[in-house]
């Protein structure tokens, strides 16, 4: 029993151990950032690597906590993301006066996500969701002196509190209608009565809020723009990914009987999300805000695959999130290096970047191409599989709309490429020397962007996990 507990909950336990370690360091003598940061990076790397060993499937606490190899893999993706963020934002992290606190918050959020993915009960889900959200709001305010940082944090905490209220209201109705909050028991009780639909809509919108599905996405851009880049990347990649995972498993496992309803809902919202996300991304100047809208559009594509209600959809989403981790983190990584060294975040200021910083330019360009879904980057495969999965339902017009949206998205990704490669600039960003660890992380991301797709066994591996 204890053995099971230790092995099944290994991801959570390691994160907790690191958390406490940081806590002790903080309340103890404290450490200089120069020594602490590498330590944290190593710990996170170990955490990530450990995720590949001693894995087991099983259920704990009478269904409150479940673990399957798919879930373990998902957690590993998140671990990888956190590790990469710790490398990419090294410049910023080193300067922050509250380094241990930052990682404590981040790791608690990560812990929350782990529990969330593994949760087998609405209560567990709610608790872990809050655990995954509240620390992030605090992190959003980490640039304490910046006005927009606190504004972003305020918007985030208020919006998510509001959405929690909606979520809870939905849960309470669901509880009233079915008498259970356990994932295992719920499907049998769902009969599609109006109250249940009502409850489901409330629940669904809470997911939609976290995933930034239109029209519940409005907080996203503001928060992304105002927060420090480390937080933005965490929000856009790790948070999004984890919510996508739990969302898809909730829909497929728990709300399977209501498929007729949520299929239509997803189709409508996916189209709205892709279109609105793309249209807003078209005219953004701030790179973070731009990436926020682009990530909204990406969620629209994820929804296309989710709509398929098939194992293929699940593996396509997991695969896509893995690629998305590499691509989006590479993009944020470059943005972070530039922003930290020069304070520039405007796309117009990226003009002529290629002249001075070819490496950063190539990485960013590749990342953007991957996000746009252009080969040979992995994004091509990711996006294609999302659409293929979506097409299993044979709603070709839906897939057509999605495919046409790829054109708009290509347009705005190319805008940045154009600025970097083609436009002239009298005062380009000077030659930057990114931190070695950031450089390493960018290389890892680039490798991931290219190889995840071309090495086809990666996808095969994910499919086999299912």
């Amino acid at each position: 029993m204890l053995n099971d507990f230790l092995i099944l909950m290994k991801p959570e336990l390691t994160v907790t151990v690191i958390l406490f370690l940081l806590l002790f360091i903080k309340i103890g003598k404290g450490m200089k950032n120069e020594t602490l940061l590498p330590l944290i990076q190593v710990l996170l790397l170990l955490n990530f690597l450990l995720g590949f060993f001693f894995n087991k499937q099983g259920v704990l606490f009478e269904g409150l906590y479940t673990s399957t190899s798919m879930i373990v893999f998902q957690k590993n993706i998140l671990n990888l993301g956190v590790y990469l963020i710790s490398l990419l934002c090294a410049d910023w992290l080193r300067k922050t006066p509250h380094l241990p606190e930052f990682f404590m918050l981040m790791l608690s959020a990560l812990l929350g996500m782990f529990f969330m993915i593994s949760s087998g009960n609405l209560l567990m889900f709610y608790l872990s969701l809050e655990l995954a959200t509240i620390p992030v709001a605090a992190m959003a305010n980490f640039d304490l002196e910046k006005k927009i940082s606190s504004e972003a944090a305020m918007k985030m905490i208020l919006s998510s509190a509001f959405s929690s209220g909606i979520l809870l209201f939905g849960i309470s109705l669901l509880y009233g209608a079915t008498g259970t909050i356990s994932f295992a028991e719920l499907p049998a009780q769902l009969d599609g009565s109006p109250l249940q639909i009502m409850a489901f809509v409330f629940l669904f919108t809470a997911f939609a809020f976290k995933l930034s599905i239109v029209p519940f996405h409005l907080w996203t851009a503001d928060v992304y723009e105002g927060s420090p880049i480390a937080v933005t990347s965490f929000l856009s990649v790790i948070s999004k990914g984890s919510i996508a995972f739990i969302f898809i498993s909730t829909l497929y496992k728990v709300f399977q009987p209501m498929e007729a309803i949520w299929y239509n809902m997803i189709v409508v919202l996916a189209i709205a999300t892709m279109v609105i996300g793309n249209l807003f991304a078209l005219r953004q100047q701030n790179i973070k805000r731009f990436l926020a809208f682009s990530s909204i559009a990406q969620v629209g594509f994820i929804l296309v695959a989710i709509s398929s209600n098939s194992p293929a959809g699940l593996s396509a989403v997991v695969y896509f999130v893995l690629i998305y981790v590499f691509s989006n983190l590479a993009a944020f990584g470059v943005a972070s290096v530039i922003s930290e060294k020069t304070g520039r975040e405007n796309i117009d200021e990226y003009k002529g970047l290629y002249k001075t910083n070819p490496f950063l330019t190539w990485v960013l360009a590749l990342a953007l191409f991957s996000l746009a879904g252009v080969p040979p980057t992995a994004g091509f495969f990711g996006k294609l599989f999302l659409l293929t999965a979506g097409a299993t339902k044979a709603d070709y017009w839906f897939v057509t709309v999605a495919a046409l949206n790829m054109i708009i998205s290509l347009y705005y990704y190319l805008r940045i490429t154009r600025a970097m490669f083609m436009d002239k600039n009298d005062q380009p960003i000077e030659k930057l020397r990114p931190d070695p660890s950031a450089r390493l992380a960018l290389l890892i991301c680039t490798a991931g962007i290219i190889l995840t797709g071309l090495l086809s066994w990666v996808y095969d591996y994910i499919v086999k996990l299912n």
């Binding site: 209560l123 608790l127 809050e130 606190s150 504004e151 944090a153 305020m154 509880y175």
Partner: protein, 103 residues
């Protein structure tokens, strides 16, 4: 007269909308936070009512309520910390003064 399920649900729905209304209209951040607490309390009332009248054998509702209260406290703590920080930089806790990020 002992209140029945309907009365309780009515009150909770009213509380929910009062909270939502408050959230929509109040300019003061603290008041907005309080409005959210109203929403949460309406949820609590729901849970308790459902638990008592519909599913007396299952204590899920009760536990849920306890956790919601706890989480609400945590949320409020972080929110207030953020609001304080916002006050430092903006010299105000009026939501309309924090609209720099848009479009």
């Amino acid at each position: 007269m002992e209140p029945g399920l309907y009365q309780l649900l009515f009150i909770s729905a009213a509380l929910f909308f009062i909270g939502v209304y408050g959230f929509f209209t109040r300019r003061n951040l603290i008041t907005m936070l309080m409005s959210v607490e109203l929403v949460l309390n309406s949820v609590n009332l729901n849970f308790i009512a459902f638990n008592k009248y519909l599913w007396p054998g299952r204590m899920d509702g009760l536990f849920f309520t306890i956790f919601v209260i706890a989480i609400a406290a945590a949320e409020a703590a972080v929110a207030i910390a953020i609001i304080i920080n916002l006050y430092r930089s903006h010299q105000s806790i009026d939501v309309e003064n924090a609209e720099e990020l848009k479009y």
